[in-house]
């Protein structure tokens, strides 16, 4: 098991109290696994991803352990995490343009980045060029500023830069969301290719788009309001979801071929609870069509069948 996350709890500090963005996340990722992390905005998926590499100033570590390749990651200590960042754990942030320094040419930026980690640039730059070529970028990008590149090209540059030192874990946060369909497909396929070529050992792909995950992920973890809702192999989540939230979410996605006149899809009524003061028990209770008395107690995130976990009393084994 490459990554083990055990009871990870991370809160945001705000003037009105703690926002319980990630509450007791427990899961594991195998070597070579691409895990998709899905959920709606504000469900804590980006917070979970970020807390594995760098907590920003508003985030507060509460409890839990993270183990990567048998070594505990000191995620609560910003300075102690430094040796792991970029080398062992790497991230592709949500907005590629803001990830790149606008005042540096791409080649210059790569050299600076390596120098900041005391890595002699000459040992890695040939590999950097080779990988840029592999993702279909011309060598002239090294002499370009980020603003001169299109969204898809920037995303590819960031992908190559982030995975340059062959990290054990790559966190890809909404990398395909701002792209057009054909570019989205190209970038999504590159993620798979980078895993297949061993540039990255395992990956967490964070997105709100379940249909992209069903294409590229091995397993899918669905979050709702700071809690884990369901985790299973991608096909199982898409074809036979157990948690009512996953089920409703999937049924609200229009697919090519579904037409308004013939088949009217429905959304999920209501909105997610505030995480400032989340309700006790199952957090999906108020919007759930299957809710009954027992949902007042919190359902455990437990295996319902081999390789399939869900947090719901209705499906608990």
């Amino acid at each position: 098991m490459a990554l083990r996350v055990d009871g990870l709890t991370v809160y945001y500090q705000s003037l009105r109290g703690d926002v319980k963005a990630v509450d007791g996340a427990t899961f594991g990722i195998d070597d070579g696994e691409i895990m998709g992390l899905a959920g709606e905005s504000g469900c804590g998926k980006s917070t979970l991803g970020k807390s594995l590499i760098r907590m920003d100033a508003r985030m507060r570590y509460v409890s839990g352990h993270v183990e990567l390749d048998g070594v505990e990651l000191p995620i609560w200590d910003d300075a102690k995490m430094n040796p792991f960042r970029f080398v062992k754990v790497s991230i592709i942030p949500q907005y590629a343009l803001s990830a790149l320094n606008p005042t540096r040419k791409i080649g210059h930026m790569a050299t600076e980045l390596l120098a900041s980690r005391d890595i002699p640039p000459d040992s890695v730059l040939p590999e950097f060029r080779r990988r840029l070529e592999l993702v279909g970028l011309p060598m002239t990008v090294l002499e370009r500023f980020p603003i001169e590149l299109s969204g898809g090209m920037r995303q590819r540059v960031v992908l190559v830069l982030s995975s340059l030192l062959d990290p054990s874990l790559l966190i890809a946060d909404e990398v395909t969301s701002a792209l057009d369909v054909s570019t989205q497909r190209a970038v999504a396929e590159l993620l798979v290719e980078f895993r297949n070529r061993g540039f990255v050992r395992s990956m967490i792909v964070i997105t709100h788009d379940l249909s992209v995950l069903s294409q590229i992920a091995d397993t899918i973890l669905v979050m709702y309001a700071g809690k884990l809702a369901e985790k299973a192999a991608a096909d199982m989540v898409v074809d036979s979801p157990k948690h009512p939230y996953t089920n409703l979410l999937l049924s609200s996605l229009p697919e090519v071929g579904v037409r308004f006149e013939e088949q009217r899809l429905a959304g999920i009524p209501g909105r997610p609870p505030s995480l400032l003061d989340p309700p006790t028990g199952c957090r999906f209770r108020d919007r759930c069509p299957l809710a009954f008395e027992k949902c007042g107690e919190e359902p455990p995130f437990a295996a319902v069948e081999p390789g399939h976990s869900a947090a719901c009393w209705k499906v608990a084994a």
């Binding site: 709606e40 905005s41 592999l134 279909g136 969204g151 057009d180 369909v181 054909s182 570019t183 989205q184 497909r185 190209a186 999504a188 396929e189 798979v192 290719e193 297949n196 709100h208 788009d209 379940l210 249909s211 992209v212 069903s214 294409q215 590229i216 898409v238 074809d239 409703l248 979410l249 999937l250 609200s252 996605l253 229009p254 697919e255 090519v256 071929g257 579904v258 037409r259 308004f260 009217r264 899809l265 429905a266 959304g267 999920i268 909105r271």
Partner: protein, 299 residues
């Protein structure tokens, strides 16, 4: 109702406006009452430019846009105000459409000053309530709130309600649901479908093919400012003929079917291999037009 006739738009680009960028090239189409026409294209294809030209936010460089037979580029003053009573737009980002300093219902107050200043308060309230009802919002939930207190779906529905207050006949919906969460976006989409049933014409601008397919009667695929394929939605999606349409459809992630040849680096960036659509639009079957290219085999 609305008719575009060989519309072109060129932008001035470069330091002194010396360069020209052809954003929209020779686009002609019509929108009838009770019809949803979707305009599908990638970023930079000119789809939003077309929407803005219809809303008179941009001037047309060449060609004409007619609404009920009147050329809209000549409208001024009272006539323009009357035009906006018939045609309204809703845009992508509901969070930046509002002024965060004021309460969200200020959009209604401003509308009342401009169009309904003679209406009595009770009549206005009744009108407001019926239009909020049409977008399935509860007045108590949304009136008197600031934008940050409302969800994206609620804000977007408020904007649609604002457009409905005017008894509009054409709505330009520019990426209205792209920013919304999956669980709420379908409700806004269904709302547009219901409004269509009441005779509202909708120009639905999107980059998401599955949403366009779900809601629209007719579809136009744009590429680099040109219409490459247009026709009834079932024809365009069921029998795509232009290579670009085929590439787009093959790239849509589907839940239960995997992409063909995943991770095969040989077919990267297939977009560039498609020839420029320099040919003319050819009618292949009833109302299904495709722009011919060298590589297209039209059967």
């Amino acid at each position: 109702m609305l008719k575009l006739d060989s519309c072109c738009k060129t932008y001035r680009v470069g330091a002194f406006g010396g360069g020209e960028l052809l954003a929209v090239h020779d686009v002609s189409f019509e929108v009838a009452p009770g019809e949803v026409v979707s305009l599908i294209g990638e970023s930079g294809s000119g789809k939003s430019t077309i929407g803005k030209m219809i809303l008179r936010l941009l001037r047309v460089s060449r060609g004409t846009i007619r609404f009920e037979g009147t050329d809209i580029s000549a409208l001024e003053g009272r006539q323009l105000k009357e035009y906006y009573a018939n045609v309204q737009g809703v845009f992508q980002d509901p969070f930046s459409s509002y002024n965060p300093i004021f309460k969200a219902d200020r959009v209604f107050t401003m509308l009342r000053h401009a169009y309904f200043s003679e209406l009595s308060a009770s009549k206005w309230n009744a009108k407001l309530e019926s239009s909020l009802d049409a977008v399935s919002l509860n007045p108590g939930d949304v009136l008197g709130k600031y934008p940050h207190q409302l969800s994206g779906g609620q804000l977007q529905r408020l904007l649609i309600a604002r457009a409905l207050l005017l008894d509009i006949r054409l709505l330009v919906a520019d990426e209205v649901i792209s920013m919304l969460d999956a669980s709420t976006r379908i409700d806004v989409l269904n709302l547009l479908g219901d409004l269509k049933g009441r005779g509202l014409g909708i120009l639905f601008i999107t980059h998401d093919l599955s949403l366009g397919n779900y809601i629209s009667d007719r579809t136009m695929i744009l590429r680099r400012g040109c219409v490459v394929e247009m026709g009834a939605t079932p024809l365009v999606f069921g029998n795509p003929l232009h290579p670009y349409t085929k590439v787009l459809l093959a790239s849509v992630p589907q839940l239960h079917t995997k992409w063909v040849g995943i991770g095969d680096s040989a077919r990267r960036r297939p977009d560039d291999e498609i020839g420029e659509g320099a040919g003319a639009l050819v009618e292949i079957e009833d109302g299904h037009f495709v722009r011919s290219t060298e590589s297209t085999t039209l059967t």
